[in-house]
């Protein structure tokens, strides 16, 4: 994704996030409201989870709109929003290298160790 392209929902950037968070100029070619990613905590004790994207002019409006769009039926107790262009994502091309199943490192798993029956519930 080139640096000049607007971010797409859920994609993030390959490189560093943009430093500037200026909304676009009115009447400019891309005068769309900026894009935000929405994260919702479904109930106390759980993580916030990515649930979608939306366009909003500012952070306060983004939270308000996220409530209307993503939590109409008790789907959440807390919302995070972040400008999509601020998300830095790993490159899918690196997937094999980054997320190798590490079949050769079985000792990382507890089941690798066979213990005497009497303490095997450890």
């Amino acid at each position: 994704m080139s640096g000049t392209q607007p971010p797409s929902p859920g994609q993030g950037r390959d490189g560093e996030g943009s430093g500037s968070l200026q909304p676009p100029a009115i009447g400019s070619a891309g005068a769309e409201w900026p894009l935000w990613e929405v994260f919702v905590r479904s109930k106390a004790g759980l993580d916030h989870k990515h649930c979608g994207s939306l366009h909003a002019p500012d952070a306060k409006a983004a939270i308000q709109l996220a409530r209307e769009v993503y939590t109409r039926r008790q789907e959440g107790t807390s919302i995070w929003v972040v400008r999509s262009e601020q998300i830095v994502a790993s490159d899918p091309g690196d997937k094999d290298m980054y997320f190798d199943p590490m079949a050769d490192k079985v000792y990382r798993h507890p089941t690798f160790y066979e213990l005497p029956e009497s303490v095997n519930h450890m």
Binding site: M1, S8, A31, L54, D58, A61, E68, D91
Partner: protein
């Protein structure tokens, strides 16, 4: 010059080879039932087909707010008004989930809306029919949303993950839409007046055939179907889903006490399905082509809403720019 051309040729060959490899890997992933994410490599036509389908779906949700919105101020009770408001708000939400999913393919929201407003992009032609009575609102829930659910449930397993995720969310909410419609009709049929029962039958008569057309042209006349099935964008054929819908509706109509307006509707023991009469595809193509009862009105309403809202969109941006500027100072 000569050598340069040779070099270029080499590069082109290499990149064609690379694309072939990527294509092969993509096909293998589709065959394995893998999901494709936004940043993954995908063939251009896969991207184009998805963009067309998802944006058309998003437009349908948004335009679909109009025929029902027509009845919000005239709903017969406060309860029905609250239900209808919630339903129409849901349709707006569904449009937003879908626009966001389509945007992941690299086309902006404004571009998609521009295509809708210029008449270049299509939306489901069912919304070009008018809602003449309150019973129409119930029948839209029962038949139109019922057909939509039939179409949409398989899309929850679409190979393009952002679309599949949006569809999971939509299907969860759509079930409320169908049930509220049936409930409204059932109330009129079992507790209403003769005039109300006649009204429900009339609405059923008018919406039945357009609902069957919602599944799209017959399989042998649906040019994109085969490729879409191959790509896992589509999971069932048009005719297969249409039959499933007819089978489900026959029983529901019986419970409701309405007659489906098709004299050829007959149980076929051998097939284990209901046979139904011929669909008037010339009507379908006429409405898709722009000459349905409400095509111009619907599009004009969307364009007006967009134009009238321009100052709000601009003012909100100006407000934020001022805040950022003040903060910096």
């Amino acid at each position: 010059m000569y050598t340069q051309a040779m070099d270029l040729m080499g590069q082109e060959e290499r990149s064609a080879l690379e694309d072939a490899e990527k294509q092969q890997r993509f096909d293998a992933r589709i065959d394995a039932g893998d999901f494709i994410e936004a940043k993954d490599w995908m063939p251009d036509n896969y991207r184009k087909t998805l963009l067309r389908q998802i944006s058309q779906h998003a437009h349908s949700e948004i335009v679909g707010m109009l025929p029902e919105g027509n009845w919000i101020t005239r709903a017969p009770t406060l309860k029905r008004k609250a239900i209808l408001l919630a339903k129409v708000q849901d349709e707006g939400g569904h449009g937003l989930y879908l626009y966001a999913a389509a945007e992941t393919l690299g086309t902006s929201r404004d571009q998609m809306l521009g295509a809708l407003h210029s008449g270049k992009a299509k939306y489901s032609s069912i919304f070009n029919y008018p809602t003449l009575t309150w019973a129409d609102v119930g029948v839209i829930g029962w038949l139109v949303d019922g057909a939509a659910i039939m179409n949409q449930v398989p899309l929850c397993r679409c190979s393009y993950a952002p679309y599949a995720r949006a569809m999971v969310r939509i299907c969860r909410e759509e079930s409320f839409h169908q049930r509220q419609g049936f409930d409204a009709l059932y109330t009129m049929m079992t507790k209403g007046t003769d005039a109300q029962r006649t009204m429900v039958q009339d609405a059923t008569n008018r919406w039945w055939w357009p609902s069957l057309m919602m599944f799209g042209p017959p399989d042998d006349q649906s040019p994109h179907s085969e490729q879409s099935m191959r790509w896992g964008i589509k999971r069932n054929s048009n005719d297969e889903l249409r039959q499933k819908f007819v089978d489900a509706c026959v029983d529901q109509a019986k419970v409701l006490g309405v007659t489906l307006p098709d004299p050829d509707l007959k149980w076929n023991e051998a097939r284990g399905h209901w046979d139904f009469g011929a669909i008037d595809w010339s009507e379908f193509w006429r409405v898709v082509g722009g000459d349905g009862p409400c095509n111009r009105e619907r599009l004009a309403a969307r364009v007006k809403a967009w134009d009238d809202g321009a100052w709000v969109r601009e003012a909100a941006l100006a407000h934020e720019r001022k805040r950022v500027f003040k903060e910096a100072a």
